[in-house]
């Protein structure tokens, strides 16, 4: 993916919003990449978690919110456990999900949930799935 950086699209308000929402100080991140390395879902993410944080630092709202990364984050907390700066990337991902959901952007509509899933799956999957992806 080609990445162009510049002042175009730079949005400090977005960075502040993500910091307020997540409760995390993103200036702590020095891009060591431990989070992306330990993330079990990196292989499927359009932008790995360390780069998501970088884009947020740079105020690149659209780049971050259009990527599938936040929706694939499973909140397993491997990133949080590995971060040498005690940052919790899982909270940043959750903040991005919530900002998107509030704008009505969600990755799955209820109608797309696989046939029969709601009947046979554990309730916890449905409740967690709704909270992370729909509600």
């Amino acid at each position: 993916m080609k990445i162009a950086l510049g002042t175009v699209g730079l949005d400090n308000a977005f960075l502040e919003q993500v910091e307020r929402e997540s409760g995390e100080d993103l200036s702590r991140c020095y891009q060591c990449g431990n989070c992306s390395g330990s993330c079990p879902v990196s292989f499927a993410m359009e932008i790995p978690v360390s780069q998501v944080i970088r884009f947020v630092q740079l105020g690149q709202e659209q780049t971050v919110l259009q990527a599938n990364s936040m929706w694939l984050c499973v909140s397993c907390l491997q990133c949080q456990a590995r971060c040498p700066k005690c940052l919790d990337p899982s909270k940043v991902m959750e903040a991005l999900r919530r900002l998107s959901l509030r704008q009505g952007k969600r990755p799955v509509a209820l109608a797309q949930v696989p046939d029969g899933f709601l009947e046979r799956s554990p309730q916890q999957a449905v409740v967690a799935g709704f909270r992370k992806l729909i509600a």
């Binding site: 929706w71 499973v74 449905v126 992370k132």
Partner: protein, 296 residues
Amino acid sequence: MTSIPYYPGCTLNTVAKGFDQSARQSLQLLGVELAELAQWNCCGACYPLTPNNVIGLTGPTNVLIQSQKAGGTVSTLCSFCYNTLKRTNLVMKEDVSRRTVVNDFLGTTYEGEAEVLHLLEVIRDRIGFAELKKRVKRDLKKLRVAAYYGCTLLRPKAVAIDGSESPRIFEDFLETIGCGAVEFPNRGECCGAHLAMSNEEVVVRLSGAVVASAQAFGAELIATTCPLCFFNLERSQKHALEETGETATLPVLYFTQLLGLALGIAEEELSLDGNLVDPRPALEAKGIVECVVREA
């Protein structure tokens, strides 16, 4: 008979009844009654990670308040419930501003007094592994069982059931009841969790890696503490069966079903028959349960 407050949670009340029943029966045999909370609601399944999502704390706080009324301790079986209740309890104990909002909203004065215990902790700390060993009635023949912790028993560190990097509680439990515990590399890796609802291919890959890792370390069966892990570990194998013709499968059981077997509960009472990957052939091959002829 002593009694300990018990929070089953939604899933154990519905699709994972075998988990709930095997725990109640087994603990009864160990002299502990799991006393279900008189009133309870869903914990929310996942701890609300963002600090301003205070409303997400009210559900689990309600459960904690009920636990406090019931005696001050609450035991859980489901990993999600354990994690959500324990993390919420930490907030209620330590974060004055969020605690105030939650209490004002609920009209309560709760300050994190309840103690949240996973059933494995109840067995280790309240009953004791030495005592458990004395109660074992059926020889599990060193069945090689992979102790799968998953994410929420181990992370974050502040609520980990044991050392979050090198836990032993699950393996020690399995060895106490006569299994040969298999400590395998992916024991703390994610199964794919709620992505079962949206991205099955990711779940198949993550759960598949857990199964492959357990298999590579010689496991004959995987033990879990979480109905969602159970669901994902089984389904990923079914998927592999359908997609690739891969036939090597590894059955999955809840740790309480193995406990029930060890304590001598009849296998018909332990819901061993509803699995996608039938655990009975593995148990029969070891001579743990009697061989029966059944239709394929």
